[in-house]
């Protein structure tokens, strides 16, 4: 009896000791950092964890942070909700990461926001996809996100291109309808203008009926976010050469530029400096990292390098032990960081919602390639 009591006490003491140091990866071993990325499944960003790892390797080669190496643990959620929640719990409880850096998952924010808040851990995603990435107390992505981008795209159409009849033909992911309405309202509040046509029902299938409707409504600029190939092929057939089509960042890929017929005016709003021009401010750093490590040049890899850079800078400013608690405090109390690859400074801050990056640069298709337009970052209400 006495022996079993002793063993219970010993086990309890061990458990207490384990929980006491839980979440800080110790204070002398590697600093563990996690991420949840879509590597397989419908939303694939395999280049993101590779780019974050490349930045951390660079830091480790230079001696690490206060002599401690950064250890990066990435989990593929395959856009599967169950895998995403399991990944978050595994990273926080088993791996005891101090923060999540460079996540790029279509489902992570919505599913894991409460887990991050409950565990008092911060997440700095490379790519914030859904609305919850920008409305949660412990998440602050390094991209403007689809909704701030919509406001910037509308602002660009009405104020820079000076189009009076601005229309929107969008396909909406479940749960993002409210975010789109807010983005349109923000544009209306700034400019006093409203949409000529708003159609959020665009899906797969022949786009001709939508294009014919847009023609009849006299749309001069059309915001569009769905499939590129059929839409622009049919727009060319319908003779819509005097309309400015403005696409979201999801369409800003080399493959899509090659699909746009020559006579169509097609623009895209970017979330970072356009990645197709490595000489733009901030892009030198990114292109050096991705080229040296043979990582695909995409906008998502820009977010990865930025998220990792911001994290390292904040970590370097921490005095004392680097633990989950000290990292969370450092982000909640950080000073804004000027990062030239985006339109506004990055800051995490103490609030319950975080969308620090605003503004967009615009590119236009010319002969099957993206050309960067000269206006610089368009920040609604400030240009």
């Amino acid at each position: 009896m006495k022996r079993s009591l002793t063993s219970i006490v010993a086990v309890a003491a061990l458990a207490l000791a384990t929980s006491a140091c839980g979440g800080d990866s110790g204070t002398d071993g590697p600093i563990k950092v996690g991420a949840i990325n879509g590597i397989t499944g419908l939303f694939q960003t395999p280049e993101v964890p590779k780019a974050v790892q490349a930045v951390f390797d660079e830091v480790n080669k230079a001696g690490g942070i206060n002599g401690r190496k950064l250890e990066f643990i990435t989990k593929d959620d395959a856009m599967n909700p169950q895998r995403s929640t399991e990944a978050a719990i595994d990273l926080i409880e088993s791996e005891e990461v101090v923060a999540l850096v460079g996540s790029s998952s279509a489902v992570d924010c919505g599913l894991n926001r409460a887990t991050y808040s409950n565990n008092k851990i911060v997440s700095i995603p490379a790519v914030g996809v859904d609305a919850t990435c920008f409305t949660s107390p412990n998440i602050a992505p390094v991209n403007p996100g689809p909704f701030k981008l919509i406001t910037a795209m509308l602002y660009y159409a009405s104020e820079t291109l000076k189009r009076d009849k601005v229309c929107m033909y969008y396909t909406v992911l479940p749960g993002s309808g409210g975010g789109i309405e807010n983005a349109i309202k923000e544009w209306t509040d700034i400019t006093g203008k409203s949409l000529t046509v708003k159609d959020l029902s665009v899906g797969q299938g022949d786009p001709t009926p939508y294009l014919v409707k847009a023609k009849a409504a006299g749309c001069q600029a059309i915001l569009y976010n769905a499939q590129v190939g059929p839409w622009f092929a049919q727009a060319a057939t319908q003779g819509m050469t005097d309309v400015d089509f403005i696409m979201g960042a999801n369409s800003y890929t080399d493959a899509n530029a090659a699909l746009i017929p020559a006579k169509i005016n097609a623009y895209a709003g970017t979330e970072w400096q356009p990645y197709t021009d490595a000489t733009l401010p901030g892009n030198e750093r990114w292109s050096k990292v991705v080229d040296a490590n043979k990582i695909q040049r995409t906008a998502f890899s820009q977010g990865a390098v930025m998220a990792a850079d911001v994290f390292v800078e904040v970590l370097k400013g921490i005095k004392g032990d680097i633990t989950r608690e000290s990292v969370t405090n450092a982000f909640k109390n950080m000073k804004p960081i000027q990062y030239p690859m985006v339109g506004t400074p990055y800051v995490f801050g103490p609030g319950n919602a975080h969308n620090p990056i605003e503004g967009s640069r615009f590119v236009k298709v010319l002969n099957g390639k993206w050309q960067v337009l000269p206006e610089g970052f368009i920040v609604p209400g400030k240009n």
Binding site: L42, D199, Q204, D206, Y210, V212, K213, G229, A233, A258
Partner: protein
């Protein structure tokens, strides 16, 4: 509204083509082939991958069609060799399994709809004529002509030629056909290969209008089945009509705001209504005949 319906008509021709491929497979080898569009998509993407790699369009087209035909032939071989004695439901279930496998593999090999959007050749995109505000491209006339050609050609083949007679025998009673000396397995394989080649061509025609990525093209089977339902999986002229009708319905759905959001549901509604309509006089527990 008329503009939208005419705009919908432009996709009706390609829907008709897809439906005809389903009906043909069913009439000739008695299989509801859920993997049909995915098989055609593999052929179409093979062609596009070859042209992107620098191959001339014609040899790429031949190789792409051959790939679609070979894959369909493989599926046919599986069904003929291992499932010839099974009923239609089992055969359909096999094609569903193949469909799921092909979609997963195709998505992995050819990419998703952002990274995988490919530049399919658009030889018929020039305007043919204009009705109201709608410019009708040549592709519409080509797909409608192709659909009429298949309908008339196959009807004549089945009703006026010896091969057609054998094909019908094969479809209705494969075992009996074999007993009377018709080389059923070989004929069935030929049909599968031909359907694979035809489907690849159809997918290549529809790709520029309906989507340049694997998941969209493979998923067109839902529309194809809805169109085939209109023809009750038997009548080629009714299937042709069904395709055009479904295109117009979709055009109308895009115009009419209350149903706009549910435009993608139209094929399923058509299936549901037709099933209900056709079964309204049926008596409980009677055997269904095809």
């Amino acid at each position: 509204m008329l503009n939208s319906i005419i705009a919908g008509l432009t996709s009706g021709g390609v829907y008709a083509l897809l439906g005809l491929c389903v009906v043909l497979t069913y009439r000739l080898v008695a299989v509801v082939n859920f993997a049909m569009a995915a098989t055609g998509a593999v052929g179409a993407f093979t062609m596009v991958s070859l042209t992107e790699a620098g191959l001339n369009v014609w040899p790429a087209l031949i190789l792409g069609v051959a790939a679609g035909a070979a894959l369909s032939g493989l599926l046919g071989a599986v069904l003929v060799r291992w499932f010839s004695g099974h009923d239609e439901r089992t055969k359909a279930a096999v094609t569903v399994a193949i469909y799921v496998a092909l979609m997963a593999a195709g998505l992995r090999i050819f990419g998703n709809n952002t990274s995988g959007a490919r530049a399919f050749p658009r030889p018929f995109d020039s305007p043919a004529f204009t009705v109201g505000d709608v410019v009708v491209p040549q592709a519409v006339l080509v797909s409608l002509a192709f659909a009429v050609l298949i309908t008339v050609g196959v009807t004549l083949l089945l009703s006026r030629t010896g091969v057609g007679l054998r094909l019908q025998a094969l479809s209705e009673r494969p075992e009996t056909a074999q007993v009377v000396g018709i080389p059923a397995p070989r004929l069935a394989m030929a049909v599968w290969v031909a359907i694979g080649a035809l489907t690849t061509l159809v997918i290549l025609i529809v790709a520029p209008r309906l989507g340049g990525d694997f998941s969209t093209l493979g998923g067109l089977i839902a529309t194809a089945l809805a169109v085939a339902m209109v023809g009750a999986f038997r009548s080629l002229p009714l299937t042709l009509l069904g395709g055009i009708l479904l295109g117009c319905l979709e055009g109308f759905a895009a115009f009419w705001e209350p149903v706009q959001q549910y435009r993608g549901v139209v094929p399923f509604l058509v299936i549901l209504v037709l099933l209900w309509w056709r079964s309204r006089h049926e008596v409980w527990d009677t055997a269904h005949s095809r």
